[in-house]
Amino acid sequence: MWRTSAPSLLALALAASGLAAQAPTAQDSVLSRQLKARPADSLGRLAVPEAAGRAVRPVTPRDNAALVVALERKIRCTCGCNQDVYTCRTTDFTCTTSPAMHQLVLARLDSGMTEAQVLDAFQKQYGEMVLMSPPKRGFNLVIYVLPIVGLGVGLGLVVGVVKRWATASPPAPPEDAAAPEAGTATPEEIEQLKRALEKFEA
């Protein structure tokens, strides 16, 4: 199963149906004119480089080092995207903040800082908000203990309620205690059950 671009298929369908015909097409755009005037050359230079997004630099093995990626996953990009630095710099290619923060991570690691020191430095620079997980101390502890406390309280409530109800209500035989094991019913019982089921279904 291949998918290169669903909207392209949609575009084809629209074009075939004539629905898109009313709108001016991109054929007359300033970029198309640029493409016609200066096609890609033998040196591999693109005719319209700005249409390929912000110019990027070649990726080095260092950019994808496990330590760098792990560290950047703990730091929030401050561009307002809500993503960590690694995700933002490898996803939102219009963002200039995350590449800069990536360079800062590399520089801090190069200066001999440990992972914890790098995180501390970012926290001092931008505040707690720069960390993808709030530090496990002080008021923030609430969110880390909430599930455990919630589970404990919930279980306590359910068990408490069941116990209170169980002592308040008269004992009843288990629902299936009187029922024979499967396969032990007599033919008469089977016939009786069949009639009951037919009556119920009717």
Partner: protein, 675 residues
């Protein structure tokens, strides 16, 4: 035409106010004429909102850029399908859609229940009218879709490129349908509380609506995940974004309700809890909109923010106070008819299930709001990212998966040892064999092992139920096995539809566990250069960069980077990842180039390629390559889940169960007794 739409909104507002007032008076005084007037008010509002919607659609399709909404979300060269979907791409249009859907569902609910639930109907009409009035008032006073500009721009700003995707055509309406259809159960709950008719009658009236709402929410969420996966380019489908969480919260509470309502119908228990869940689900649907539209927590989804957030905040408080206030008032009338007898029973299993679902909802709610809470308490804003959500929800989710297998098999009232042995022998064996097999192949992620083992447990419980049910019919009625299967499901749709939903849930969990094995890398390649990427399954993809091409297409200029792909030497084809520069009708770029990923998908894994950009304007390309195991299972798990929901929802001649019918008071429910 837009003037007509504007006038229609104002008249709908006035009629809604009238309808709200007379509906509650009709309920109190039992005057049939007032009740009929209230009903007609809902129908009239619906008609007027249809006119308003047609007016807005006309403005969009005719490019009336003097209308601010049209200028803000469309352009002359926007494909027609997206001009149509721009109706709900912006806040003002989506409010109109909400109001339209609320009155549509309200009208259907009133028409289908004519002659039934006579004590409830006026209050149902009144509550629907109040909800619709709220949406219309928000439009009229804060976000009017027909607001005009002081000038007419030659072209509009166009639609956000990320919204120009087929997923965005279907995902928002599905979610809106899910959110708004919760209004009907809420209206019946309010009616039951106000009227004091608190037997299971109101539950019969809302059963389909709750299922429908749950189904729409499920489809909306899955479609949203698909859109995020194919459009946003980060290689995932769920990021615990506030708006994603906003849709997940009512889904959780509705799921809890769909389980706990069975206990009320069968055993007459959990009456207070069920009403609280319906009220809570409705409030969460309003909260979702508040979160989306207020911009209170920054989110990639808050494409449009304005002061409507304050309207929603006030409505949220008013609906919460009214809903829970009424529940408090009727508290003494909501005593259980029987009491729970054992902690090892289906009732108790459903209670545990509800507890986990609500705990997950509580945790997601608190974590979503934590940045605001922290800022309010400490004056320091913090970030709560996916690692925190995963830390908690993975464990709770696995507990829920376990209960998914236990709940349906355990006996009502009190399970005996014999029952437990008979029901759980094979599922437990399957779970242990799966765990051992995965340990033997050295699967390294403990949570993934647990998820697959529990998945096997639940799957065998479901298969066992089908096998036993079909076997019983085959023996009792002498039916051929396929016929026995069809009749088994056809005559017990709720039960077996529910089992199919559980299979869908297992597929989703299998997919989520697959994320543990995700691999991603970034490479820079010149044309002709290659890279090898090893799959978690052991094979190797060999990807060769073919070059970059540029061309025009529809309303965009495309820069496409192509890669030839082989898997262990076998040629698979060419994959093309793009940058799309969207253009306005003057041919000028509208925004930064957007990324369009290339995906090769099968049941085992997705090869996901992102064209990050060109190095210094040359054909040397930077790619992000992701191998995403089992993503296919999310989409197909979603389909199975929706299919199960449809089976459950499909009308049946039987109606409510006999036990549930006995719990509904005869007076006023003639139709059900006769059914």
């Amino acid at each position: 035409m837009t003037e007509l739409g504007n006038i229609a909104l104002w008249i709908a507002l006035l009629i809604g106010l009238w309808g709200s007032a007379v509906a509650f008076m009709a309920g109190r005084t039992r005057r049939a004429d007032l009740g009929r007037s209230a009903e007609r008010s809902i129908f009239a509002m619906w008609g007027l909102l249809v006119i308003a919607s047609a007016a807005l659609m006309h403005a969009l399709l005719t490019h009336d850029f003097n209308v601010e909404f049209v200028a803000a979300y469309t352009s002359r060269n926007l494909p027609v399908v997206y001009t149509w979907s721009a109706f709900y791409a912006g806040q003002k249009g989506s409010l109109l859609l909400w109001a339209l859907v609320v009155t549509s569902f309200g009208s259907i609910a009133l028409l289908t229940n004519r002659g039934k639930y006579k004590d409830l109907t006026p209050y149902v009409a009144g509550t629907i009218a109040v909800i619709a009035v709220f949406f219309i008032a928000t439009m009229v006073f804060a976000a009017n879709p027909f607001e005009r500009l002081g000038f007419t721009p030659p072209d509009g700003r166009g639609l956000n490129p990320q919204l120009q995707n087929p997923g965005m055509v279907f995902h928002p309406p599905m979610l809106y349908l899910g959110y708004t259809s919760i209004s009907i159960p809420f209206a019946f709950a309010v009616a039951a509380l106000v009227s004091g008719k608190l037997d299971t009658g109101w539950l019969h009236a809302i059963r389909r609506w709750t299922l429908l709402s749950w189904l729409f929410l499920s489809c909306g969420i899955i479609l949203g995940m698909w859109w995020a996966y194919v459009e946003l380019g980060w290689g995932g489908y769920w990021a615990w974004d506030p708006v994603e969480n906003a849709s997940f919260l009512p889904w959780l509470t509705m799921t809890a309700f769909l389980h706990s309502v069975m206990i009320q119908e069968k055993r007459g228990m959990l009456k207070k809890w069920n009403i609280a869940l319906v009220v809570g689900s409705f409030l969460l649907s309003i909260f979702g909109t508040f979160l989306t539209r207020s911009g209170v927590i920054s989110s990639v989804h808050s494409f449009s923010q304005s002061n409507v957030g304050y309207f929603f905040l006030v409505a949220l408080v008013l609906f919460a106070v009214s809903g829970f206030g009424l529940l408090w008032w009727r508290w003494p009338m909501l005593k259980a008819e029987v009491q729970l007898e054992s902690m090892v029973s289906r009732e108790a299993a459903f209670l545990y299930n509800n507890m986990i679902l609500i705990l997950i909802a509580l945790v997601v709610f608190v974590l979503t709001l934590w940045p605001i809470i922290s800022e309010a308490v400490r004056g320091t804003k913090v970030t709560v990212g996916p690692p925190v959500f995963d830390l908690v929800n993975v464990k709770l989710g696995l507990l829920l998966l376990l209960l998914t297998g236990i709940g349906p098999l355990i006996a009502w009232r009190r399970a005996s040892l014999a029952n437990l042995r008979r029901q759980f022998l094979w599922p437990t064996a399957a779970m242990l064999v799966t765990a051992l097999a995965l340990a033997a192949i050295r699967m390294s992620y403990a949570y993934a092992v647990v998820a697959y083992a529990l998945g096997a447990f639940v799957t065998v419980t479901v298969v066992q139920e089908f096998v036993r049910g079909v076997g019983a019919r085959h023996r009792l009625h002498g039916e051929a096995l396929p016929l026995a299967f069809v009749r088994l499901v056809g005559r017990n749709r709720r039960r077996y539809g529910g089992y199919v939903v559980h299979l869908g849930i297992v597929m989703l969990f299998a997919a989520f566990a697959g994320l543990a094995f995700k691999k991603e890398t970034e490479v820079t390649l010149k044309p002709g250069q290659s890279v090898d990427v090893r799959s978690p399954y052991g094979w190797t993809y060999h990807l060769t960069h073919q070059g970059i091409s540029q061309y025009s297409e529809l309303n965009r200029f495309v820069t496409a980077a192509s890669m030839d792909v082989t898997k262990d030497g076998k040629y698979l084809g060419t994959m093309k990842a793009e940058k799309r520069q969207y253009l306005d009708s003057m041919g000028q770029p509208t925004a930064e180039p957007a990324t369009e990923v290339a995906i090769r998908s099968d049941a085992r894994e997705d090869l996901y390629i992102v064209f990050a950009g060109a190095v210094q304007g040359t054909e040397q390309a930077v790619y992000k390559i992701v191998i995403n195991p089992l993503v296919w299972w999310v989409w197909y798990g979603g389909m199975v889940l929706a299919f199960g929901g449809l089976i459950t929802l499909w009308p049946t001649a039987q109606g409510p169960t006999p036990a549930s019918r006995r719990r509904a008071e005869p007076a006023g429910y003639v139709a059900h007794v006769g059914a």
